[in-house]
Amino acid sequence: MEKAGNDYEAVVGLEIHCELSTKTKAFCSCESAFGGEPNSRCCPVCFGLPGALPALNMKAAEFAVRAGVALNCRISRISSFDRKNYFYPDLPKGYQITQQRNPICRDGFIDIQSSGAKKRIRIERIHLEEDAGKLIHRDGETLIDYNRAGVPLIEIVTKPDISSAREAQDFVRKLRSIILCTAISDCRMNEGSLRVDVNISVKRKTDAELGVRTEIKNLNSVNAIGKAIESEFSRQVSLVSKGIPLSRETMRFDPVSKSTLTMRSKESYNDYRYFAEPDIPPLVLSEEFISCVEQSMPELPERKAERYVSVFGISEDSAFLISGNNDASAYFEKAAESCSYLKTLSNMITSTLFPAFGDDGTDMSRLPEPEHLSEIADLSGTGTINSLTAKKLMELSAKEKKSPREIVERDCLAVIRDRDRIKKLIGAALSEMPKAKSDYLRGKKAALKSIVGRAMFLSGGLADPELLNEEAENQLAEKE
């Protein structure tokens, strides 16, 4: 980002739509699951048939409150619903039921760790709303599937506290892991159960005033979020720095050209004619209801990280990173059960294995069984193997699903400390490298390194380097 315009910084806020995984829809009792034969999971309410009325699914309200509690929000004792009026073929009633004036949750935050530093991103609100249907374009025709119409969503709106693509990505990753912890959504970006809109403007770092912002709609991967922000930031900076005024636009991100394209400009700016939804009375939540949700919360990443530091004694950075990914933390905790070298274990996860815990799910094929990783950590901790071997073992054990101890034995991967073998290795190296030997004897002490290096090579990288050094010095001293 810095490259694109050193004087400018991005001001980014996110709107995240998250489909709730309640069994039934938000306002009727139709099945809410993804997919299904088109228009098979629909009733008069889903189709918006004249006369049908919404009946709020309290499970959806409960899930929204869970999200609010997990994201450190204030829970509204009274919230209410509004109609957002607009025309689109996938919108059966011609309006969407949402919460515009009184959202169910307000004023939360998430702490992220971006480029090593901790940062707090504030959450303005979380509101409950219904999803629309889906258009299917086929053979020049457009068909409509209303199975998704009425599926409950929460929209999480952040304050414009994010200042780079990297931070936005870290925020979404962290948010995702928190939401997954609360089990209210499967957060599958590729299936659209987690969708992100980005609001972005640029300003000179020295300015306090915000620039004109644009909105990039419907980003469906963490990668796309980063790319879209980077590209839109450069576009805005290049215009603003030339003094060309920006217009308030809605854009979409084209993954092929990796650039943002205008969807609609300010002229067609929608007036949604919001008004109080007369079919749904205000939602009043009792103290019991809220405390019941609070008490049923699982351990969230923050708390988990604290526990990892205090109970397992691993570093804060590792704890934060691991706890921020639910698969990684489950994996770590399983491995920790039988491991004596927890710091080593956590480092192995964060430095070597972390790429397996990707944004689109965990690649199990790249991971050893947790008990096997714990063995590797112990082998490494006791010095039985060196760090290179540890890495190799992770790969081998992931592939072969065999005990690392057995592999070490079978492939003779233990560190070589046997005096005789060390002696022989140095002897062989010296006889192969008469020049280095004579260089050393003539006072070129650096030549020792290449002799030890050669011996290490001859050992297949397994010899104890300190013992090799010692032995080489000894043997050369004898020669003097």
Binding site: F47, G51, A52, L53, N85, G94, G140, F275, D279, I280
Partner: protein, 484 residues
């Protein structure tokens, strides 16, 4: 006398004693319809075979001793209340081919007791109008005042009951649509407390004010139908679980001695007032006083500002409720070439009055000037609510006209929409405040011979009080008539 002219509680007794069969009664209604509906135009859909089938079923039920008060009684339903498998058009071209896959909760309540559904009645398109002249199919004639409008928007239901084509009917009331046609056709119409009768399956006009209400020839019958259709419905979140008092069986014990009745200053509405209407209310006041009640004139929010607020709010909600008719899912004029022109579709599909309200409603919800009107209207609504709250801390009931004028000749409202809107000045306050109100016939104007009604309004959920007072009034009026 034709059996279909008798009050339904008498019919009910005759059915259970075996003196009358539902099949015969249903036949009588259908014959009356055959004979008169060509000129009246009360029905949009008549379900002859279905009706006779369910009448025979009702007869079986009654003979096995399982009949209820409404079992076997033929009735009609306003065409904006959904009936499974039966065309429900809202008197709109847009829905001329629409067959709902489900029935409204109120309809199901009547089906459950095996009442006999005769068909669907004509109305002003989507409930918008006060004369039934805004039906996309045909206007309705007033069966008891030739050449006059039957009122609206539930004019078809009122006309069907008034002419003996149905023993009772369901209407809907958003701003007076049950009470006003009841007054024009000299029948009894109740607008229940908002939330008392489920709205599930009622095609919405203004959701925060829509109610389903019964239209009958007499007060007791009205109470019987009301008791059958009211109650909490999980499908309608705005429906109330407040317990309802059953009064239909004990109306003869009614006593309104000591009741305090408020009367608004009828000259202060800003809409004008016919002398015969004012006289009917004052006469009614004397009747209530003779029954031991005390009538006092007081300031109440029956005026043109309340009327304006009603029109802004109802149009706003209507503009949103009617947005779904975009040409994609409804209407037979779906484009064949794949080009969807929403504007053209809606311009051709909706009638003039509906378009007028959609435009008004869209305007008042739009940011800027119009939005201010909407906010002011919401404040006015709050004021109306609190004014009624205050009034009901001093008074038990409010007595008022139903409309400022008796039924006008056909064509008058068409020519002047604002004159039509003025007719709602006494009915819309109950809708804005969610109060129950009943329209009861008060005889005919001695000079013009036109029917005139009076309206009683009660606090929330006090339908039983409305029925008691209306019942006594009705009795006095008919006793007075029989004395003459």
């Amino acid at each position: 006398m034709r059996p279909n002219d008798l009050p339904l509680y008498e019919l009910s007794a005759m059915l259970s004693s075996g003196e009358l069969s539902s099949e015969h009664l249903t036949m009588c209604c259908l014959e009356t319809a055959d004979r008169t509906d060509d000129s009246v135009g009360a029905f949009l859909t008549l379900c002859r075979d279905d009706a006779l089938r369910s009448a025979r079923e009702a007869d079986r039920l009654i003979s096995s001793g399982k009949g209820m008060a409404l079992t076997g009684i033929p009735f009609a339903i306003k065409d904006n209340i959904c009936t499974e498998g039966i065309r429900t058009t809202c008197a709109s071209k847009l829905l001329s081919g629409y067959i709902p896959p489900y029935s409204a909760t109120a309809v199901r309540s009547l089906e459950n007791v095996c009442a006999v559904m005769l068909g669907k009645t004509n109305m002003d398109e989507f409930g918008m109008g006060s004369s039934c002249e805004n039906s996309a199919f045909r206007p309705v004639q007033n069966p008891i005042a030739p050449g006059r409008v039957p009122g609206g928007s539930s004019g078809g239901s009122a006309a069907a009951v008034a002419s003996g084509m149905a023993c009772f009917a369901l209407g809907s009331d958003t701003g007076g649509s049950v009470r006003q046609p009841a007054a024009f056709c000299s029948v009894v119409g109740l607008k229940p407390t908002y939330g008392r009768v489920s709205r599930y399956g009622l095609v919405p006009f203004a959701s925060s004010m829509d109610t389903i209400g019964p239209i009958t020839r007499d007060v007791r019958s009205n109470a019987i139908v009301f008791e059958a259709i009211s109650g909490h419905d999980p499908m309608d979140m705005t429906s109330s679980s407040e317990a309802a008092e059953t009064v239909s069986g004990s109306l003869d014990n009614s006593d309104i001695r000591g009741l305090r009745i408020a009367i608004p200053d009828m000259g202060a509405t800003g809409t004008g007032l016919s002398e015969c209407v004012e006289k009917a209310v004052l006469d009614a006041a004397s009747v209530f006083e003779s029954l031991g009640a005390k009538c006092v004139e007081t300031v109440l929010p029956f005026d043109i500002r309340t009327l304006a607020a009603y029109y802004a709010i109802s149009a706003a909600e209507a503009s949103s409720n009617l947005a779904r008719f975009d040409g994609i899912r409804y209407g037979s004029d779906a484009p064949q070439n794949g080009e969807l022109d929403v504007r053209q579709f809606r311009s051709l599909g909706f009638g003039t009055e509906v378009q007028r309200r959609i435009i008004l409603g869209t305007y008042v919800l739009s940011s800027g000037y119009g939005r201010d009107l909407y906010s002011k209207s919401l404040s006015r609504r709050e004021y109306v609510r609190s004014a009624f709250r205050a009034a009901f801390s001093e008074y038990d009931l409010i007595l008022s006209p139903v409309t400022p004028d008796p039924p006008p000749p056909l064509g008058r409202f068409k020519a002047s929409p604002s004159e039509m809107y003025y007719q709602d000045v006494f009915t819309v306050p109950a809708n804005l405040a969610g109060l129950p109100a009943i329209s009861v016939p008060a005889g005919r104007d001695s000079s013009s011979g036109l029917p005139v009604g009076i309206q009683l309004t009660a606090p929330h959920f006090a339908e039983s009080l409305l029925y008691r007072a209306a019942y006594l009034f009705e009795k006095e009026i008919s006793d007075g008539k029989s004395r003459k």
